[in-house]
C-alpha cells in the first residue's frame, strides 16, 4: 500500500488559471545511516501538487539545492519564476529521534514566511511532513491545510466465497491504510467523532443492522443501537456525546432519533410515515438536517435538534439526499439528481443556490474537508467505486488512489487535535 498515492495519481485541474510556481528543495540529512528515513520534500511536494493550486518545480531545473535558508540565493529562484521556496533538513538526535526543520521563503520579497523545527520519530515523520505542508499551504493561500487529516471509507472485495467488507482509515492522500473492521456482512455509513478518535458505523453482522462506536487506537468497539428493523445513518453531535441515527422499528418506518451515547436513551425527532433518514448536525448544534421523501421524492429538510416542525431546505430537482454541512456552516453538500445522473451538489445555505460539482453517473456520499474548502465523495470507474476530491468551488477535481475493490462512503476526519 506504501506507494498507492504515487502509483495512480491523477490530477484533473480545471479552471485554475495559473497554479503558483513553488520549489520544494530536497531535504538535507544529517544522521548515522546512509539513507534518510523519509523523503520529506517529496511528501510536501505531492501535498501541494495534489491541492491543484501549486506547480512544484522539477528538481532538474533547480540551480541550487540549499538545505538551510542562509544558503539561499533568491536570484536563482526568481529567474525561474518560482514564487516560494521550501528548504529543510532532517537531523538525527538519537536512535529513533530526529529534528525536522523547514523554512518557507518568498522569493520576490526575499524574506522568510514561516520556519519550524519539529522533534519527530520514524513513526511520526510522515505526519510531521504533512503538518509542514499544512503550514506552508496556509501561509501561501490563507486557507488552513488538511494534509494532516485522515479519511475513513468502506471497501467491498469479491472473494471466492463471497464479498468481504472492510472499514479502512488512511491519510488523506491515500497512504498509510489501516483496516479497522472486516466482515462478510455489509458495513455502512462510517462517521467520525469530533475528536477523531472514534468511528461510528452500521454493521449487518448476523443479517441485522446495528450501530457500533469503535475507538481507533484500542480497536475496542461497543454496540450502541440494536433495535428491531433499521438501525442506520449515525452522525455525531458537535459535542461528541450524541448520535443522530435512523430507526425503522418493527413496522419499518424510518425516522430520525437522537441517541445519548452514554445512557443509550433515544429521543424521537420525526414521526412521519415517509422515509426520514441520513441525519446530520449543523456545526452549531442547533439543527439536524436529514433526507425525507414526505413530499414524494427525497429532499433535504431540517429540524431543531430539540424537535419541532421540519422545514424543507431543497427545492431544485427531483432528488436531493444525504445532506452534509460544511464545518463553517455556510454550505450544504448532497446527492442531487442532475438530468438522470446522481451527482454531488453544494448549496449555499444563505443564497440557496445549487452548484453541481461532480460529473459521474452514480456519485455519492459527499463529505467536507475540515477546512470547508473541498469535499471527498465516491464515484464509479469501471464498475467499481473510487474516491474523488473536489474544491468547493468546483474548479479543482482529482481522483484519489486508495483502497482495493469497490471503494465507497468516504468521510473526511476533523482536524487532528494536539
Amino acid at each position: 500500500m506504501a506507494s498507492a498515492a504515487n502509483a495512480d495519481l491523477v490530477i484533473d485541474v480545471q479552471g485554475v488559471s495559473r497554479p503558483t510556481p513553488v520549489a520544494i528543495v530536497p531535504f538535507g540529512w544529517e544522521g548515522d545511516s546512509p539513507s534518510v528515513p523519509l523523503d520529506v520534500a517529496t511528501v510536501i511536494k505531492n501535498d501541494l501538487l495534489r491541492s491543484g493550486r501549486f506547480a512544484p518545480t522539477s528538481e532538474n531545473d533547480m540551480l541550487q539545492k540549499p538545505t538551510d535558508g542562509v544558503d539561499l540565493d533568491f536570484d536563482d529562484w526568481s529567474v525561474l519564476g518560482v514564487e516560494a521556496v521550501v528548504v529543510g533538513r532532517i537531523i538525527q538526535t538519537g536512535a529513533n529521534a530526529y529534528t525536522l526543520q523547514f523554512q518557507l521563503f518568498d522569493t520576490f520579497r526575499r524574506k522568510q514566511l514561516v520556519g519550524y523545527r519539529m522533534p519527530v520519530s520514524r513513526g511520526t515523520m510522515r505526519f510531521a511532513a504533512h503538518r509542514a505542508a499544512d503550514m506552508i499551504y496556509e501561509k501561501l493561500t490563507g486557507i488552513k491545510g488538511v494534509f494532516g487529516t485522515k479519511v475513513a471509507y468502506v471497501t467491498a472485495k469479491e472473494q471466492p466465497d463471497g464479498r468481504l467488507y472492510s472499514l479502512v482509515v488512511s491519510d488523506q492522500d491515500g497512504e498509510n491504510e489501516h483496516t479497522i473492521m472486516e466482515s462478510e456482512d455489509p458495513i455502512m455509513s462510517p462517521a467520525w467523532s469530533p475528536d477523531s478518535r472514534q468511528l461510528a458505523y452500521v454493521s449487518f453482522e448476523g443479517s441485522k443492522s446495528s450501530i457500533f462506536v469503535q475507538t481507533l487506537r484500542s480497536g475496542n468497539r461497543f454496540q450502541v443501537s440494536n433495535k428491531p428493523g433499521i438501525n442506520g445513518a449515525p452522525a455525531f453531535s458537535p459535542d461528541g456525546r450524541k448520535l443522530v441515527i435512523t430507526l425503522g422499528g418493527i413496522n419499518g418506518n424510518p425516522d430520525i432519533y437522537v441517541l445519548d451515547i452514554t445512557s443509550r436513551q433515544t429521543k424521537r425527532l420525526t414521526t412521519h410515515r415517509a422515509i426520514d433518514t441520513e441525519g446530520t448536525w449543523s456545526p452549531d448544534g442547533k439543527y439536524i438536517y436529514f433526507t425525507s421523501d414526505r413530499a414524494g421524492g427525497p429532499q433535504v429538510y431540517r429540524i431543531s435538534a430539540n424537535g419541532g416542525t421540519p422545514e424543507r431546505i431543497t427545492f431544485e430537482g427531483s432528488y436531493n439526499a444525504r445532506p452534509r454541512l460544511s464545518p463553517d456552516g455556510t454550505r450544504l453538500a448532497m446527492v442531487h439528481n442532475d438530468r438522470g445522473n446522481f451527482r454531488i451538489a453544494v448549496m449555499n445555505i444563505e443564497r440557496r443556490d445549487l452548484l453541481v460539482l461532480s460529473t459521474g453517473r452514480q456519485d455519492e456520499s459527499p463529505s467536507f474537508a475540515p477546512n470547508s474548502d473541498s469535499l471527498i465523495y465516491a464515484t464509479r470507474q469501471g464498475g467499481d467505486g473510487v474516491l474523488e476530491t473536489v474544491s468547493a468551488d468546483g474548479l479543482i477535481r482529482q481522483k484519489m488512489a486508495s483502497g482495493q475493490g469497490d471503494v465507497r462512503e468516504p468521510v473526511w476526519s476533523p482536524f487532528p487535535r494536539f
Binding site: F204, G248, R380
Partner: protein, 176 residues
C-alpha cells in the same frame, strides 16, 4: 397437509409462464378443486392427504420455498407487489399459517441509484409491503422479520436497467 402441497404446485404452474429462466421441477397432477382458494384462510383443511405430515420441518420449508419461488421483483421507485407475484406471496402465507413454528426473514433490496441510507429505506419499504401482505393473510407478526440491505448486496453487479431490475427485490428466507 396435502391441500397445501397441491396449492403450492398450482401456484407454481401459474408462475411458470412468466418466469422461463427459473429452473423448476415438473408440475405434479393438481386437484383443481382448490384452485380458487387463494387467501381463503386456514380453517378449511383437507386432511385426506397425509404425505406432507410425515415430512420433517426442514423438508417442508425447502419444498415450499423451492416450489413457490422466493424472490419478488419491483418496479423502479416502487414498493408495490406486482399482480403476478401476489400468488407467490399468498403461497408463502399459506405455508406459514400451516407451520406456525416456521419463521421468515424478508430481505429488502434496492438498486444502486441514489444515496445508500435512503436506499436502505426503500428496501425496507419493499420488505414491509410483503410483510403486510403476509399478515393480511393471517401470518403472525412474530413469524416475520424484515431486514433491508439497500444497495449493499446486489444480485447483479452491473449498471444497466436490467441489472437494476434484478436488484430491486425482496427475498423470502426461511430461518428455521
Amino acid at each position: 397437509m396435502f391441500y397445501y402441497k397441491i396449492f403450492a404446485v398450482a401456484v407454481l404452474s401459474a408462475l411458470l409462464a412468466g418466469c422461463p429462466a427459473t429452473p423448476v421441477p415438473d408440475p405434479e397432477p393438481v386437484d383443481t378443486t382448490y384452485g380458487g382458494e387463494v387467501g381463503a384462510g386456514a380453517d378449511t383443511v383437507d386432511t385426506a392427504g397425509t404425505d406432507v405430515k410425515t415430512m420433517r420441518g426442514g423438508e417442508f420449508i425447502e419444498e415450499t420455498a423451492e416450489s413457490l419461488g422466493t424472490i419478488i421483483y419491483f418496479e423502479f421507485d416502487s414498493s408495490q407487489v406486482r399482480a403476478e407475484d401476489q400468488d407467490l406471496v399468498a403461497g408463502h402465507a399459506i405455508a406459514l399459517n400451516e407451520k406456525p413454528g416456521a419463521n421468515v426473514r424478508l430481505e429488502g433490496h434496492a438498486d444502486e441509484r441514489g444515496s445508500r441510507e435512503y436506499n436502505i429505506g426503500l428496501g425496507e419499504r419493499r420488505a414491509q409491503a410483503v410483510r403486510q401482505m403476509l399478515m393480511i393473510q393471517g401470518v403472525s407478526a412474530s413469524q416475520i422479520q424484515t431486514v433491508s440491505f439497500g444497495e449493499e448486496r446486489p444480485e447483479s453487479r452491473g449498471s444497466s436497467e436490467s441489472d437494476y431490475a434484478e436488484n430491486r427485490r425482496v427475498v423470502i428466507k426461511y430461518t428455521n
